[in-house]
Symmetry: C2
Subunit: 137 residues, 2 copies
DNA sequence: ATAGACCTTAATGTGTACTTGAAGGCAAGC
DNA sequence: GCTTGCCTTCAAGTACACATTAAGGTCTAT
């Protein structure tokens, strides 16, 4: 498939696909006789993977390093493991932060019907909940 | 407390605190007689809140709009609720994406101990198929 | 009273992640 | 043969979120 179809399939712009290839976030793409990119499902999956990781906040740079390890033939397992673990920790923290922000919004939403409590009060309530949660761990 | 102490307390640079104030992500900060910012715990909490939301990927612009609703005195409850709900949905999706990325990494990590037969193998299989296909052309 | 450490505003610079523009090639349809 | 519509590379432009610099003020200690 050509780059436009790939773009439509992935939701990533043609320019961004070229950019990802240039930045080695995806493998080098095969070309047709006239030099046009010929994109297959393997590339599509790679693009999707990049999109997913970008969506959860991984930078192009981290992602490139990660992918290089991922694709590496040499057995540098120990280093790979360390990097994955590091990345995992970052993402777990992010998830937890996100969850408390969600809790915050849910609280706000649930109290809309009752009355408009002040921000101070809400923040105090959230802090109380947070302390409680933390104490329960 | 002055801006430097606030910066140390929150981990947000002085320049960023000034920027947040200018962009209305935090309330206007009181000044001392000579015009220096005098930051109290309420502001610290607001800065921390901004940091948390930024960390989970909310843009300055979305955050400003959210905070304006949050702080609003006027009762436009219905619209506020709709917007908060929308925001909530976005964040929940993000949390789920993050979770599946975490699962992915965890899976990978757990299989490092055994041998290298995780997602890599799947990708290599795809690559093998790809090479085969190419050879057949 | 001069240095050093803090503060102020306003303007400009920086890194990231693309997007857009320029200049041109190839193939199909009118 | 000219337009349309896809493609190419390379360079330059853009948006966001600050960081940095300039030019100056205030406070404290030596």
């Amino acid at each position: 498939m050509n780059i436009k179809e790939a773009s439509e399939k992935t939701g990533v712009s043609s320019a961004a696909i070229r950019y990802y290839e240039k930045e080695s976030l995806i493998p080098e793409i095969d070309r047709t006789e006239v030099g046009n990119r010929d994109i297959d499902d393997r590339i599509i999956r790679r693009i999707t993977f990049v999109t997913q990781m970008r969506a959860v906040g991984m930078s192009i740079d981290s992602l490139r390093r990660y992918i290089q390890l991922f694709d590496a033939q040499e057995d540098n397992t120990k280093e790979q493991k360390a990097i994955l673990q590091e990345q995992l920790a970052v993402m777990e923290e992010k998830r937890d932060d996100l969850q408390s922000a969600i809790d915050h919004l849910n609280y706000k939403l649930n109290h809309f019907y009752d009355h408009m409590e002040t921000t101070e009060e809400e923040l105090r309530e959230l802090e109380r909940q947070h302390a409680e949660k933390k104490a329960n761990q």
